[in-house]
């Protein structure tokens, strides 16, 4: 599973363009990783601002 750091995200859509399972829903100012994510990490590799990660850094309760 991958996670978007929304503070860094510019909603540019490069991640969507490389996503094979079409698992990213991107609107003008919001982004959601969907259940179909296969954890291929291509989105992490291409993000212009490095805004996607596969590491969980904190848990909000």
């Amino acid at each position: 599973m991958v996670y978007v750091i929304e503070d860094k995200c510019d909603y540019c859509g490069v991640c969507v363009s490389v996503c094979v399972p079409d698992a990213i829903e991107l609107k003008e100012t919001s982004i959601k990783i969907l259940e179909g994510c296969t954890d291929c990490k291509l989105c992490i590799y291409v993000c212009p601002f490095g805004a996607i990660t596969d590491k969980v850094v904190s848990v909000v309760r």
């Binding site: 510019d10 540019c12 859509g13 490069v14 969507v16 363009s17 490389v18 996503c19 094979v20 079409d22 829903e25 991107l26 609107k27 003008e28 291509l42 992490i44 590799y45 291409v46 993000c47 212009p48 601002f49 490095g50």
Partner: protein, 389 residues
């Protein structure tokens, strides 16, 4: 908004607006949908266009063609530059105004436009695309049509939903970061292109001036190199080096498909236009004029198809054929050249700059640059000649 249209166009960039303009000219019922609240904002683009291509559509107006470029500087990794002069290289656009104008013109021809409308699915019946599902202010609705034109950009989901494109491979994507900045170091006379492994691996950094003190400064790198270092870090270093005291007015991310032409860009009731169809130039990344050229063909063919009552792939294929024979052929050649050019080592680039600077200035054209660059690959020299005919 009607319940049904002849043509639904998804995406209000230059490709979508041009498709809308040309199809609406025939009197068919057209609607253009965009997920953003504003046509023309945000703009993820270096905003450079070629003069010849632009003039096919519009007479340049200083309100949106804000700077005329008559010289390029190609900068090698060691800092030596090659200056190319051509009175008709092109313009730097203010796309906030340009895109809005294109949409206005389409609306004047009778196209409807709806923003803040997010297309979230295709309606497919009996192997024909028959419309879209979309969401506005949280409410889902269906909108039917005879043809859907997918002009939804690099993030195109329409291209995926209809099976014509699965994704863009890392080697075919340029991932980019750009700022628009104000600095006294901006020189409005030149568009600059910087090359080098440490500057922009698999791509280039650009300085595209809008006037004497404002310019778009950006870096695009190949997706195969961005894993270790995203483009924003390359950009920060570039700005630190060249514009350390600049004021930044815009900071933006984006990507460009620098891919070979898609095998198919049409199916029953559907056409793809622009970045959604991978139609940007694979070397320069220029996509605005290509999207407009595609939109012009697609708009006309779509309207003809609607009026003839035949929206099958066989009918819509005329669009693909006209595209393939014109810009598609150029893109194919450019992709072949790109595979070689962006693999040049810094040493080879420095050497190439030296060779070019020993060429008499009147012989220094883009064609000469490519021919000299591809000297080790004779089969590609023909591509260079054909592209720059």
């Amino acid at each position: 908004m009607k319940e049904e249209y002849d043509i639904i166009i998804v995406g209000g960039g230059p490709g979508g607006s041009t498709s809308a303009y040309y199809s609406a000219t025939y009197g068919v019922k057209v609607i253009l949908l965009d997920k953003r609240r504003d046509i023309g904002f945000p703009i993820r683009c270096a905003e450079g266009v070629g003069e010849a291509g632009l003039k096919e559509f519009l007479k340049p107006d200083p309100k949106w063609a804000v700077n005329k470029i008559s010289a390029f500087r190609l900068v090698a990794p060691d800092g030596n530059n090659v200056t190319l002069k051509n009175k008709e290289f092109g313009y730097i656009l203010q796309r906030r105004i340009f895109d809005y104008l294109l949409a206005e013109k389409a609306a004047e021809k009778g196209a409807h436009i709806a923003t803040r409308t997010y297309v979230n699915g295709l309606i497919v019946e009996n192997g024909f695309v028959k419309g879209v599902t979309a969401e506005y202010l949280g409410k889902n609705f269906s909108l039917r049509s005879k043809i859907v034109i997918g002009a939804d950009g690099i993030e195109s989901r329409i291209a995926k939903w209809c099976g014509l494109k699965s994704h863009i491979p890392l080697r075919d994507i340029e991932t980019c970061a750009q700022v628009t900045l104000s600095s006294e170091k901006i020189d409005s006379n030149f568009s600059d292109f910087y090359f080098g492994e440490k500057i922009a691996p698999g791509g280039y950094a650009w300085i595209f001036p809008k006037n004497e003190y404002i310019g778009n400064v950006g870096v695009g790198i190949s997706g195969i190199y961005s894993k270790n270092k995203p483009p924003i870090y390359y950009l920060d270093e570039f700005i630190e080096r060249h514009f350390p005291d600049a004021s930044v007015l815009t900071r933006i991310a984006g990507g460009i498909p620098c891919a070979p032409p898609l095998k198919k860009i049409v199916m029953n009731g559907l056409m793809l236009v622009g970045d959604a169809a991978n139609q940007a130039n694979p070397i320069t990344g220029g996509g605005i004029i290509n999207a407009m050229k595609a939109g012009r063909i697609a708009g006309k063919i779509a309207a003809e198809a609607v009026m003839s009552g035949d929206v099958s792939e066989k009918m819509l294929k005329k669009y693909q054929e006209q595209w393939d024979e014109s810009v598609g052929e150029i893109n194919k050649r450019c992709y072949r050249m790109k595979k070689v050019i962006f693999k040049f080592s810094d040493k080879s680039l420095n050497k190439l700059a030296e060779v070019l600077n020993n060429t008499p200035p009147e012989k220094l054209t883009l064609k000469e640059v490519f021919i000299k660059a591809l000297k080790q690959h004779p089969s590609l020299i023909l591509d260079a000649i054909n592209v720059f005919k």
